[in-house]
Each structure stands twice: as structure tokens, then as C-alpha cells.
Assembly symmetry: C2
Homo-oligomer: 332 residues x 2
């Protein structure tokens, strides 16, 4: 659960919003050394507080995180398919690992695992997913789709469509999907999706959908390298993101898109996907598990793979690839 | 590991093959009661011995199991892709569960888990797989195919082809494949295959192939119900099956078929499958996760699904179904 206990220092900072509180004053009022004050400031920063320190002026609270209200989400989504059971953790290794255990133990579809921080957050292809405390939406959702394993990639695309639409609605920004399932704004990544599937013969048994959203990360949360390719909704919108509201919006949209999928098949989903895609019609490098080559992604297939036009004009079906930098912006 | 300790009773029975040894004599020589003799006989039967008991004549040893020599298999398959690491257990819940744990911990492709007995053997669709002590081949193999999740069903069919060919070679019997992956002889099941796949986004992470072969089961190992639809190689061939040899034969054939698949794609595998299939061209009932209907399976698709002709003449693609009884034997 989210830490809600307020220390005396937190109270002093909160009571003086936007004002500098001198280290000397804190030191005297709390009866602790200046070094102890500094240590407590560092501790607050490690759990998501942003505090400016200016010599001679003191400390000023710029931002403090509000907890995700998972009880509100559960309540609002009662009777819904997704989100009426939420496990909200403070710090975990990975929400994916916890959700997988719950799924193996028989947890129902729509069970959500949320964490304020992930120490070993899982990204695609074994990469680490940077998940600082109280800043983002780090969650895994258990799905139990009654579909054959061949159609699992459709779920990845469906999830990207739902998340993209929810984030567009929330932010008003023209966020786009980079195949297969990254969400970008002006070339910088805002969100990633990782679907882990478990199947028995031809049928899916369960799918764990991992969702990472850089909601309230500040510039300081990105190192130099990461800052070049990632950003947060808060940085883009210039205001704090209500994580509770965004999660609820996404789960509702996702359920709606799933219903369309179940009623009308993948075609309408593919059309939505293509309408939100920023990776079509642009020449770029593609790295598959076996090779790297230049190509222009043209369209989705019904199997969730992508048709790419090679430099010699021929077309090739790609099941899985990393897309590199766009080298030509001309839409076909 | 297989139990190799011989009790005095076992020795007495083994020293008098095909002959009756009276309970009285055993009782005297071992200095135990007739009831204690009977209990020891029951114990031997529980670990695969078959002992005939005839009033006044005594006990006669009809059959005793020989252990699988996994060291021989490991040695013969050194440098091969499959079978050079074998974990041989005595009694386990399920070889699938153990293999899955090993795969999660990073075990290499081709690692084999064998057990003399499974208490909770896993069949398809959550069914129990009857796995009596020392009588069958109950094994799970870890595969790490570098293929997209869409192609996972091809692996199921590939495995069935390899197992069918190995069992035909060993037995000389015209064993056939019932879609997707049961092996039958004259309508009775000899073997089943269960593939459990784990994927991340579009790519398979690992596959656990579970193989059950009714090698040396006797008539007594089948209850009335099971006897109607299952049989063993030993019952069909009238002689004991060398499990060590059959496992080695299968692993070698499987590796060969995998190499064909990697070199030439699924087409040659599909052709082999169709040549071994007994479920094509016959009208039967099909039960999918959502409905049951009559149809005639016609051919495999490249995705590993099957095209079925419905009663109104139209064709339908089926990803997953149970096939029922054949109602018409006329091949198309």
C-alpha cells in the first residue's frame, strides 16, 4: 500500500507550499542536525517528492505524489470485466511476476496488480523498465481470452489501441503507436506494453498484460540517455497526472475495445490501430531475431503481423521486429 | 531414480521364471506370515510387477519392469540438441510442472524430464493422464524455438509427426495421427502430446512438450472405460517394449524433423503430417470451445489449423477442437 504517514518534515514543507523553508529552521524545530535534515530530504526524494534546495534560502517543495486510489477504481468498475480486483503494492520486483503467480493460482480475468515502484521492472526483449516510486503507472492485468494461440498478437495490438485512445482522451495530445506496442509523442516514448502469454496446445490459457506509463516522471527521473527517447505526460502537459483517473479511463476503454473485438473480430481493431499508428509508410530499419534490414511498413495482416516493403519493392511479412529510426518522413 | 534393490521375495520369483512358487514355501523361506507374503506381492504389483496368483499353485512372475537407462540415452545423444541432459525421477506429480520450473530457471533446449510414475499427469484440456509405475514413457522436453507465437501450433504437429514415425519404426504398426496430436492404432489411443507454450509479445520464450506413451501397460492397467479407447504397444506387439530404445529413437527422429522444418519450413512437415493422419476425409463431430458440429476435416493450413467441410458444403477454419467418433469411413 502507498505510504501515507507524514513525517514532521513533510508537514513543514506541505504547510509552506512553493516557499523556501530554511534548513536552519527545520533543524531547530525538529531538534536534529543539518545533516539529518538533508538525509530526510533525500529520503523524501526517493519516494517521489521533488524538493528544490537553494543555498541560503533553504528547501522548497515543488511536487509530492498523490497515491493511486485503487479502492475508488475497484468501486467504479464493480461488475466490470477489468479492474474490479486490484492488488496494490508499494515496492515489488515486477508486477508481471506477481500477476503470473496469481494467474497460475487461478485469479480471475481482469485482476490488476499495481505497484508504486518496481525494482526489476520488465520491458520487452529482457530489457529493464525504469519504474521510479509513485511517479508512474506500473501495472499488470490478467486476461483469460478464449482464443487460439495464433491470435495472441491481435491482443497486443488491441491493448495498444485502447491505451493510446485513453491517453489521447486524458491528455488531448496526438499520441501515436509505434509497431507493435510502444506509445510515442513527437518521437519520445511515453508508454510500453508487454504481453506474456501462456498456452496449452492451440488455446491461450492466460495472458499477463504489462503496462508501463510515464505519468508523473520529472526531468530528473530520466538520465541523459533516457531523456533523448522518453518523456512523461506530466512533462508534456505541464501539470500533474491523476493516475487514478487515467487507470480507470484506460481499463474502461480497453474493455470497450475488447467487446468490439469479440463482437466484430479483428478488422475494426486493425483499422483503429492503423489510424493511430505512426510507424506506417515510413522507411526505417527493422531488426528481427535473425537480421536487420531497411523497409517501409505498409499495413497490418489479420494475424497481427506487418507487411513491409523492402528496398527492392518486394513485400515481406514480419512477425516480430524492433523498429529503428525513421530515415525518411515521406508518407506513401 | 528407478528402484533397483531386490527383495528376497523378488529374487525367489526371478529365480523361478514362468513357474509357480507356493505361498507356503515363500512364507517358510522368508520366515513371514502368508498375509505378509500377500502384502509384499501387492507392493511389487504397485511398482509394475505382474504376478499371477493361482490357488494351490502359488505365485508366478509374468512380467517385471526394466528401468529406463537414461545414462545410455544421454551418452548416445551427446552433442545432439535433444536429450543430452535427462532428469530421471521416480514418482512426481507431473513432469510438465518440473520441466516448466527448469525452463523458467534457464534450462537449455532439449533438457528432458522423465518419471517412472506421475501422480497428477497432465492431459489435454485439464484432463488427467493415467501414468502407472514403470510401465510407460512419461516425459517432458524443453524446447526454445526461435519462432513467432503464431507458429506454435506447427510445433505441435511437427512433434506428432516425429513421434508417430518413431513408433511406427519401432513397432512396424501403421500408427496414425488424429488431429491435432493423438496417436492411435485401430481407433485406440497409444500416445498423447501436450505442448505448453510461454511467449513474450510475438516471440515464443519456451515450449514444454509433454509426451505420454503407453509402452508396457498391461490389460490390468486399464479400467473398463479406458480399455475401450486406449491400448499399449506391449499389448499390440505381444512383447515387452524397450523404453530406453524407443525414447532414443523418438528424440533422434524429432531432431531430424526439426531440422527439416528449420531448413525448408512447414510445408514438408504438413505433407508428412497429412500422410500419417487418420482424421482427414472422415465425417465426424467437432467440439470447439464454443460449439459442436459435424464436419469433414480436409487439410492443414500453414498456420497449423485445419480446414473442415461442413454439412452444407462450405469450408471452415478450425484452430482448436476435439474430434469425436467417425460416423462415415468413406475417404473423400
Amino acid at each position: 500500500m502507498h505510504k501515507t504517514t507524514q513525517s514532521p518534515l513533510t508537514r513543514m514543507l506541505l504547510e509552506n507550499p512553493k516557499q523556501y523553508v530554511s534548513g536552519e529552521m527545520i533543524s531547530q524545530q525538529l531538534g536534529i542536525s543539518r545533516t539529518a535534515v538533508w538525509k530526510q530530504i533525500k529520503k523524501l526524494e526517493s519516494i517521489g517528492y521533488e524538493i528544490e534546495a537553494v543555498t541560503k534560502l533553504g528547501y522548497r517543495l515543488l511536487y509530492y505524489p498523490k497515491a493511486i486510489d485503487h479502492l475508488q477504481i475497484e468501486q467504479q468498475l464493480q461488475g466490470h470485466r477489468l479492474g474490479n480486483v486490484i492488488h496494490h503494492y508499494d515496492v515489488v520486483d515486477s508486477t508481471q511476476v506477481i500477476a503470473k503467480q496469481l494467474a497460475e493460482e487461478g485469479a480471475t480475468e481482469g485482476t490488476v496488480v499495481l505497484a508504486e515502484q518496481q525494482v526489476k521492472g520488465k520491458g520487452r526483449l529482457g530489457r529493464h523498465w525504469h519504474s521510479p516510486y509513485a511517479k508512474g503507472i506500473w501495472m499488470s492485468v490478467i486476461l483469460r481470452p478464449q482464443i487460439p494461440i495464433q491470435l495472441a498478437p491481435q491482443l497486443t495490438l488491441l491493448t495498444a489501441v485502447a491505451l493510446c485512445r485513453a491517453m489521447r482522451t486524458y491528455s488531448g495530445l496526438e499520441i501515436g503507436i509505434k509497431w507493435p506496442n510502444d506509445l510515442l509523442y513527437q518521437g519520445k516514448k511515453l508508454s510500453g506494453i508487454l504481453l506474456e502469454s501462456s498456452a496449452e496446445d492451440q488455446m491461450l490459457k492466460y495472458v499477463i498484460a504489462g503496462i508501463g506509463i510515464d505519468a508523473n516522471l520529472s526531468a530528473n527521473d530520466y538520465d541523459e540517455q533516457l531523456a533523448l527517447k522518453a518523456t512523461s505526460l506530466r512533462l508534456l502537459m505541464g501539470k500533474e497526472i491523476d493516475r487514478t483517473e487515467l487507470i480507470q479511463l484506460f481499463l474502461t476503454e480497453w474493455e470497450l475495445i475488447m467487446e468490439i473485438y469479440e463482437r466484430s473480430g479483428f478488422r475494426p481493431i486493425a483499422e483503429l490501430w492503423e489510424a493511430h499508428a505512426i510507424s506506417l509508410g515510413q522507411k526505417l530499419s527493422l531488426t528481427t531475431p535473425t537480421e536487420t534490414f531497411m523497409g517501409t511498413p505498409l499495413r497490418l495482416t489479420d494475424a497481427g503481423s506487418i507487411i513491409v516493403q523492402l528496398e527492392d519493392g518486394t513485400e515481406k511479412e514480419i512477425y516480430s521486429a524492433e523498429m529503428g529510426e525513421v530515415t525518411s518522413n515521406s508518407r506513401l
